[in-house]
Symmetry: C2
Subunit: 300 residues, 2 copies
């Protein structure tokens, strides 16, 4: 049985899924001196990662030897793909290995994964609150766009359950710091999913809905020649990976529906104040929003 | 009677209102070699603008001599203040002067201003689609934050009516180019107000409503330690000058209410798709939004 893998550079980290987040993890960890292995279905990504020294070894398929070498395994997979992978391959993971992930929803994933693991293998869930607008679905372009500066000034969330040991929680928090996140916060599965419904999924739902207000190609072309930065900023995230985000939305359906309803309520209150010509009610909301927003600026 | 003031550097431009936009105009025009005059109620702003060479002369009060010297007058005022100013002072403006503005709404302003002007004075409305997040209401801080790089890559809208001459329209378009805007577009008052309701006012209404979904100081403090960039981007404009924006909303009430209703419709459609577990309907909206958004990136 392996020793408990405290996060020292001698440790070997296997990244399963070299998409945007997995690739950025791989780059950050190999730059810091860790031995990084990679599994991803795209040969061109494995080739590029090897030639750039981002991974020490890799495979396009599940590779028992790579899995056996890993002290830590990071899953950079969609929720459903993660569940499927663990279901099929958990028997290959040796005791003492710590697993973590980058998944944006927790309630539908964490307990199921933990239930499938062999004795001595611990899964501690995390959520890096960082990303980049959609570059397209071309695997090599995504790999090349993934850089550790995505993590600078950003938040890293550690989401333990009752099944986690203090050592694994501590390891996961260390990982967030090694990756370069500005702030590491620990919270429960329920807190996480409620906060993420508001901070991440609701904002994407708003941006997508706003872009869908345009009326065909001619309208988009005309409007784009008139726009200012407020519209650009608000809709940056409207370029969205529809396969991933529809899955994230569905995986966190109840908290997200709840947050959408709160937003509709506030938006309709502002609409009503405008319809009534109620300047004071509008200014009240604007002052409150200004005060609250000051707390959210990114830390240096 | 003055000669028609084609936009050559010998011409004198009076800026009335040295707020964010007026100050950035003054800086851009004086840097390009124009003789710039300024009127603003704050002595400290006049002093700073004089000492930095941003204006050649200025006053905290309406000054008949400064007004008489101007070939072009730019109003950097809220809509109601602009109407009041012209009502009180239009008799001081000499024939041949061309007036323009930076106002974000047109229907409620342009015709009224035009109706108040003496013979030989022409008002051609414009809307610089640029800004900066709220710095506060301290006049000197606003003056210092106003820089011409706000205009780089941005859109400048010229909004003529039937009363405008081709010469004044041409002058106003030249002004947009001299100021450094990437693209100058001409459109009617109705087109302008409808487009701005969508591109500018609706986005501010969304950001304000979203910030108002938070539940008190403790909630804001907790959420800010968890957030990612999507939420920050979407709410950057939630720091808002409540006096100005409530006035802009009210001045464009009908078009804005219409756009708010379209947005509610689309947002509720996405909510329904999620409630129904209708993945394809969600992905359809996400793909449409991704396609449309590509057209809106800022020009280099």
């Amino acid at each position: 049985m392996k020793q408990f893998p405290y996060l020292i550079p001698e440790r070997t980290v296997l990244i399963v899924g070299l998409g945007l987040m997995g690739s950025a993890y791989a780059r950050a960890l190999s730059e810091t001196g860790y031995r990084v292995l990679g599994i991803t279905p795209h040969q061109e990504v494995i080739d590029a990662a090897l030639s750039e020294g981002v991974i020490h070894a890799g495979d396009t398929d599940v590779n028992a030897d790579l899995i056996a070498q890993a002290d830590i395994i990071v899953f950079g997979l969609y929720p459903t793909v993660l569940l499927d992978w663990v279901h099929k391959n958990s028997h290959l993971i040796s005791p003492g290995t710590v697993l973590t992930d980058v998944t944006g929803v927790k309630a539908c994933v964490v307990e199921q994964v933990q239930a499938m693991l062999p004795e001595g293998v611990e899964y501690i869930s995390a959520h890096p609150m960082a990303g980049r607008e959609l570059i397209g679905n071309e695997p090599l372009a995504v790999f090349r766009a993934a850089t550790p500066d995505m993590f600078r000034g950003a938040n890293y969330l550690v989401v333990p359950t009752e099944k986690n040991t203090p050592e694994a929680i501590c390891l996961c928090e260390q990982l967030g710091r090694v990756l370069g996140f500005a702030r590491v916060t620990r919270l429960s599965v329920e807190e996480h999913d409620r906060a993420i419904a508001f901070l991440s999924q609701l904002t994407h739902a708003i941006a997508v809905s706003l872009m869908c207000c345009t009326d065909g190609e001619g309208d988009v072309s005309r409007l784009s020649s008139l726009t200012g930065d407020s519209f650009r900023d608000l809709t940056r995230i409207a370029k969205i990976n529809d396969a991933m985000w529809s899955e994230l939305f569905l995986s966190n359906r109840e908290p997200l529906l709840g947050q959408m309803d709160v937003f509709i309520d506030r938006f309709c209150a502002l609409r009503q104040a405008l319809a009534d010509g109620d300047t004071e009610a509008m200014r009240d909301m604007m002052r409150r929003s200004t005060d609250c927003r000051r707390a959210f600026d990114r830390q240096a």
